[in-house]
């Protein structure tokens, strides 16, 4: 079974992770409305990705405004947050 899977961000089970990640992103000064949010299961953790609207699937890293990602464990503890390249 693949260990990296995109989840449906509209699934209510993703909401707690998104809420936690948005808090972290706002602390970094991100304007959330400038980004598209995506949620991934990566191994045992959950990663919330904030992508600029210019970043298509073909792009490695970020296009336009730099993206941001927040990795959380199963208890929604923040393991890592960083800008995306």
């Amino acid at each position: 079974m693949p260990v990296f899977v995109e989840l449906d961000p509209l699934d209510g089970r993703c909401y707690p992770a998104i809420e936690r990640a948005v808090h972290v992103a706002r602390e970094k000064g991100l304007k959330i409305e400038d980004y598209t949010l995506r949620v991934f299961r990566d191994g045992n953790g959950i990663t919330v990705l904030f992508s600029s609207r210019e970043t298509s699937a073909a792009i490695k890293g970020s296009a336009g405004k730099p993206g941001f990602e927040v990795e959380l464990d199963g208890n929604l503890r923040v393991l890592r947050s960083n800008f995306v390249r």
Binding site: P2, V5, E54, A58, G61, E69, F83, V84, R85
Partner: protein
Amino acid sequence: MSVSEALHRVWDKITSLFSDGCAGSPTQSRSNATSNGPFATADAAARAALTEANPKSIRDNLEYGGLIYEDAKGDYYYSGPVMGSEQGVDPANAAAPAGATIVADYHTHADYSLADPNTGAAIRTSDPARDDFNSDNFSTQDKRSAKALGYDAYLGTPSGTFRRFDHAYGIDTTF
């Protein structure tokens, strides 16, 4: 940025106008970049590509990328590398020849950097302890891209380590 870095960037911009299309943005137009090979395996082609691209990427603090492809004889080659931006690159801007089968892409993560708090621009530190980009690892966007494109991705990092992401199983390893 040092004078030497600035001169390198200007020179690369000038040469890329003649060989790699309009460089400097991950959304640049596609080019007819030169290809390199043959190699017996995709890993061997990727290693050669990253060995060429990674020192330039660290020197310029810019991303570089290209494609790994297979010809009709089963030999492997790499295209590019083409220059991207401080934070991204579209490897397909280093086009593969018509008829070739694209089996992977590669890109590099430049040097360790902080993000400018106002603009998000990358500010080189050359220090892994002062890096806002997790530069030694694939980003989630890198992995998303590999899954969407349907082929593996290779990465060159500022530590000098090369990584491979298996798009089918979602597994990230050094190679």
